[in-house]
């Protein structure tokens, strides 16, 4: 479990995170959502210790991470795996060497044992036969899976994912989301995911923290998010009319009515209007 208490962070006098608190439980996907620039990445970097918060505490299983120094901090970090937005694979190393890196750095296992573990995690992320390929030879989705394999190779207790779906097509995004969810449950990890992808929220979100302009605006489960009355949250998650329609449909199914002024008949019989040819030709 990770506890975040009253975190505040500013850069050059500009407050980016203000008084954010949250409890992220083990065995569930904890999502930090928000628009670009809302402070979710800074919050995540404060939690993992890449940024030092100006104020507040981060507790990993009750241990105050912000007050730790050197060796103690390194010990906690060995229990953390992170999937970066751009995958952050080492360019000069191939897939096998990338995944083996944490094992070589922190274990004294034999090469065979390390190789077995590499193949095991590669199989876990459904990626085989790419051991000798370099990151430049992989697609975006494959890079993410290799990065995920590297993140879990040391069996971490905490998994952090920064925008795991950025730059991926919806189908590959779904594969990555499902992998994150499965791995979280399988290894009872505390997973923290930064995203602004509503598909991910509905797919894997157990606990959701909505950030708005550096502050915690809302928190709850994915079921609660649909029925939330928070205007800022609604503006964010239902920015698309199609998503609004999806919400209305669900409300209709569950409650038999739509609590707004939208035209129900139009929603149910909605047809796509014909696209006019701007050139005027057939």
């Amino acid at each position: 479990m990770i506890e975040v208490k009253n975190i505040k962070k500013s850069f050059d006098g500009k407050v980016v995170i203000e008084d954010v608190s949250a409890v992220m439980k083990a065995g569930q996907c904890n999502l930090i959502i928000g628009a670009s620039g809302s402070g979710k990445t800074v919050l995540q970097k404060c939690i993992v210790g890449l940024f030092e918060p100006d104020h507040g505490e981060v507790l990993y299983s009750g241990q105050n991470f912000t007050e730790m120094k050197g060796e103690q901090k390194t010990e906690i970090r060995k229990e953390i795996g992170m999937l970066f937005q751009g995958s952050a694979l080492f360019d000069s190393l191939n897939v096998e060497e990338n995944i083996m890196f944490p094992l070589s750095m922190f274990t004294k296992d034999s090469h065979k044992k390390k190789l077995d573990r590499v193949n095991e995690v590669l199989a876990r992320v459904n990626l085989t036969g790419v051991n000798k390929k370099y990151p430049a030879e992989l697609s975006g989705g494959m890079k993410k899976r290799v990065a995920l394999a590297r993140a879990i190779v040391l069996n971490p207790k905490y998994l952090f994912c920064d925008e795991p779906n950025s730059g991926l097509d919806p189908q590959t995004s779904l594969v990555i989301d499902k992998l994150i969810k499965e791995i979280t449950l399988e290894f009872n990890m505390t997973t923290v995911v930064n995203t602004h992808d509503m598909n991910s929220v509905m797919e894997i979100g157990d606990y959701i923290l909505y950030m708005y302009k550096g502050k915690k605006e809302w928190e709850g489960s994915k079921k609660e998010i649909i029925f939330s009355k928070n205007q800022l949250l609604n503006e964010f998650i239902f920015a698309s009319e199609f998503l609004q329609d999806a919400k209305d449909m669900r409300m209709l199914e569950e409650t038999g009515k739509i609590p707004n002024h939208r035209n129900m008949d139009m929603l149910l019989d909605k047809e796509t209007p014909p696209i006019e040819d701007p050139s005027g030709t057939e």
């Binding site: 060995k78 992170m82 970066f84 890196f101 922190f106």
Partner: protein, 245 residues
Amino acid sequence: MTIFNDIGRYLLMIKGMFTKPENHKMYWKEFIHQCTEIGFGSLGIVAIISVFIGAVSTIQTAYQLVSPLIPPSTIAQIVRDTVILEFAPTLVCIVLAGVAGSRIASELGNMRVSEQIDALEIMGVNTKTYLILPKIAAALLMIPLLVVIAMALGIWGGRLAGTMSGIISGNIYDKGLLEFFVPYNVIFALTKAYVFSFIISSIPAFYGYYVKGGALEIGRASTKAVVVSCILILFADYILSALLL
């Protein structure tokens, strides 16, 4: 104020390098990799430059020594001392600041921008120790070796140019090389090489490690690293010459 801020951060970076390695074998592997990159990676350009520097020195010295009272073997003495004292350590190190320095800055800059350094930090690796220390240690080992090779090739290049153009015969050149030789000059040249090696590796590492932004900033950091390294090499050259000669 920026310059004092940069000096402070540079000193903190140097201090931060000296921590206990997480795994000696991995650090050794990285050190060997850097020795290969810095040493063998720069050998070709160093060889070409050294031979031509020696050759040009011989021709230009002969051109200026017009008095019949000066023996031709003096050409070899001048070429030897110029190459050992100045050309091999200083010029070669300025070239290496461009070759190895820009590589170090752009490599670390790219790692910073693509979050590879953050990935190492998250794993619990001390990135200053793992990424910067092996580069500086490799430079301290390989650059003085390259300077020694440059000395030999420069002197040989002078001989080659002298004999090919008929300025001086091989025997007289060889005889001149042995006349009035001061071994201290080699020690002085190596002292300079060690100081320049530290500059060539640590300054680009600093600019690369702390880069912020994207590809454009990596390019800027790389250029700045080379420019600052060259200026510091020339400044250190002057200080060392004033103190040690």
